[in-house]
Structure formats: structure tokens, C-alpha cells
């Protein structure tokens, strides 16, 4: 009787062990992921940081630029394992970065993936000042300033802003993603909504603060 009970107990223990092995074949689920993943930027100096996870020996950081899929590693800005809780890189304007961090234990097992979300670097802008002579109509209402990339500005160009009459100057920022020639023109609008013909066009080269492009053609030769 005692032998049978012992065998039964051992069988149950073995069964439970097998079940545990099936449910948790690796240590993946035992490791907590890192938390509070965020990306901060000062100029173009970007830092992805996170808080430590219990049991983690290292952290695997993945950063993608431009909304590309999670894999492959070669297309990532960062795809590496490290001990530290921050990762620094140089970000580019007018680009979106997606980032993830895993915790990694001493056996190389990964925690669940934790996405830090996306961070979009803004396009750079340049300040522009436009002045004009006031219209003389008694029922003048406002001026409509239009802007376009290139040398030509027309009535169909996008409206940059509206300025109430009798103001005759406007200073504002023009968003740009790359160095380009911008054209500006304007119309006058009266209180009943009648719009004048288009003014003369002025142009200005907008220089944005983009950094250099990525160097190319790097090779190495090893000399014994």
C-alpha cells in the first residue's frame, strides 16, 4: 500500500514537472521586461533610456528609422545587447524612430519585447520676414500669404498664414526638410471675401540645419 502511494506521488510529481516544462520550456516568461522606455533628443543627440528589470544581466536595444519593420537587424539604427540603461545615437531631422528594449538574463533568455513607441524628429524651420505696402480700399479685411517650394508662387500655392489689415509685415517660421528655394506671394481679401489678384513673387533660399549625410565607401585594409 505504501509502495503504491509512493509510486503515485512520484508519478504526479513527474507529471507536474513535465507540465511545467511544456508550459515554460525556457526562461523567457520568467524575466521581467524593462520599463519606462523613452527617447529624448537635444538637437540631434538622441538618447533611449529605460529602467532596470529584475534578473536582467543585459538589455537588447533595437531602433528603427522610418517605420520599417522590426527585422532585419541590418536595417536598424541599433541592434545590440549591452549592460547599460541608455543608448545614444545621432538622430536626423524629419525622421521617425521606433524603438524596443528586451531584458536579457545571464543565460541569454529574452524577456517579452517592450516597445518604447515612436519619436519623430521635426523638420527644421527658418524664420522669414515679409513686408508689403498696405492696400487702400476702405473695406479691406486681411492679407493671405502663400508659399511654395521652387521659384513660382501662384494663387493655388498653399496658404502660409493670414494677416489682418492694416498690418503690413509678417515674421514667422517656414518648415523645411531640406535646403530649398521658397517662393512667397500674397493676395488681399476684403470684408465680403473678394480676393485680389496675386502679388509679385519674392524668393528666398531656406537653409535648414540638417547635418551631413551618412559617409559612404568605407573600406579597411589590414596590413600585417
Amino acid at each position: 500500500m505504501r509502495l503504491r502511494r509512493t509510486l503515485t506521488t512520484r508519478m504526479i510529481s513527474a507529471l507536474l514537472a513535465i507540465l511545467a516544462w511544456i508550459v515554460m520550456p525556457t526562461g523567457v516568461w520568467a524575466l521581467d521586461p524593462p520599463a519606462s522606455i523613452s527617447m529624448t533628443v537635444s538637437g540631434t543627440a538622441a538618447t533611449v533610456s529605460w529602467t532596470s528589470a529584475a534578473g536582467a544581466a543585459n538589455y537588447a536595444i533595437r531602433i528603427h528609422k522610418g517605420g520599417t519593420p522590426y527585422e532585419p537587424c541590418e536595417s536598424m539604427i541599433a541592434c545590440q545587447t549591452q549592460a547599460g540603461l541608455t543608448y545614444n545615437f545621432t538622430a536626423q531631422y524629419n525622421a521617425t524612430y521606433d524603438f524596443w528594449v528586451h531584458a536579457v538574463d545571464g543565460g541569454g533568455n529574452l524577456s517579452a519585447t517592450v516597445s518604447g513607441g515612436s519619436f519623430t524628429m521635426p523638420a527644421q524651420s527658418a524664420n522669414v520676414t515679409i513686408t508689403w505696402a498696405p492696400n487702400t480700399e476702405a473695406d479691406m479685411s486681411y492679407y493671405s500669404i502663400r508659399a511654395a517650394v521652387g521659384p513660382t508662387c501662384t494663387r493655388s500655392s498653399p496658404v502660409l498664414t493670414s494677416v489682418p489689415h492694416p498690418t503690413t509685415t509678417w515674421t514667422g517660421s517656414v518648415s523645411a526638410t531640406t535646403n530649398a528655394l521658397y517662393a512667397f506671394c500674397m493676395t488681399a481679401v476684403d470684408r465680403t471675401g473678394n480676393e485680389s489678384g496675386i502679388s509679385n513673387t519674392i524668393t528666398r533660399e531656406i537653409i535648414v540645419s540638417l547635418g551631413p549625410v551618412q559617409p559612404t565607401g568605407l573600406t579597411v585594409q589590414v596590413i600585417p
Binding site: 540645419s209 565607401g217 589590414v222 596590413i223
Partner: protein, 113 residues
């Protein structure tokens, strides 16, 4: 006995297969000049792992433009390099592709027949 001698020879060759300490090699890096006239320098980064991150801790040297070559003398392990371009506003580009300077190893030769 002949087998023992051959075994000893293999051990000796394996010991020599990785270069002995002090056997340093030189890595010559070169790259294309950046197209921007505002680029003033290039930063050369070196890491011992294949992910060459442009971090301050990995900064090996700054090369003034228009030079596009850097010679790393005395490396004793496989190293990985990448570079960035820096303009006059100290804006730094994203890193180039990573290249590998493989530390040479001696391949055992001969046979023990």
C-alpha cells in the same frame, strides 16, 4: 611515438594559430569624401563588437576634412570601424556602414600521415 610527435606539433601549431602577444597589425581605413562643403571632419569609431555605435566611448580619432583616410596602428584583436561626418555646426551624420579589420590567424597546414 610518431603519433605523439605529430600531436605535439598540432598543439604547437594551435598555440601559434592565434598570433602571439605583441604581434600587432595595422588597419588602413579609407572612405569617400562627403558631398557637403560644410563638412569639417570625420569621426572614426572603433568597437570590439560588430555593432559599431558612434558613442563617445568608442571614438578613436577625428580626421580633418578633406582627408579621407585613417591608419590604426597596433591592433591585436579583430576590430570594427565606422565613421561619421561632422559639419561646421558640429552636426554629426548617422554612422557609415561598419567594416571589419579581421585579426589574422595562422591556419595549421601539413598532415600527420
Amino acid at each position: 611515438m610518431a603519433t605523439k610527435r605529430c600531436g605535439a606539433a598540432i598543439v604547437l601549431i594551435v598555440l601559434l594559430a592565434t598570433a602571439p602577444p605583441g604581434w600587432a597589425v595595422t588597419a588602413v581605413l579609407s572612405w569617400n569624401p562627403n558631398p557637403e562643403l560644410t563638412v569639417v571632419s570625420y569621426r572614426v569609431y572603433r568597437t570590439a563588437t560588430s555593432q559599431c555605435a558612434p558613442l563617445p566611448v568608442n571614438l578613436l580619432a577625428t580626421v580633418q576634412a578633406p582627408n579621407t583616410q585613417y591608419v590604426d596602428v597596433g591592433i591585436e584583436h579583430t576590430q570594427y570601424y565606422c565613421i561619421t561626418a561632422v559639419d561646421e555646426g558640429l552636426r554629426e551624420s548617422t554612422p557609415s556602414s561598419t567594416v571589419t579589420a579581421a585579426y589574422p590567424t595562422v591556419t595549421p597546414g601539413g598532415s600527420c600521415d
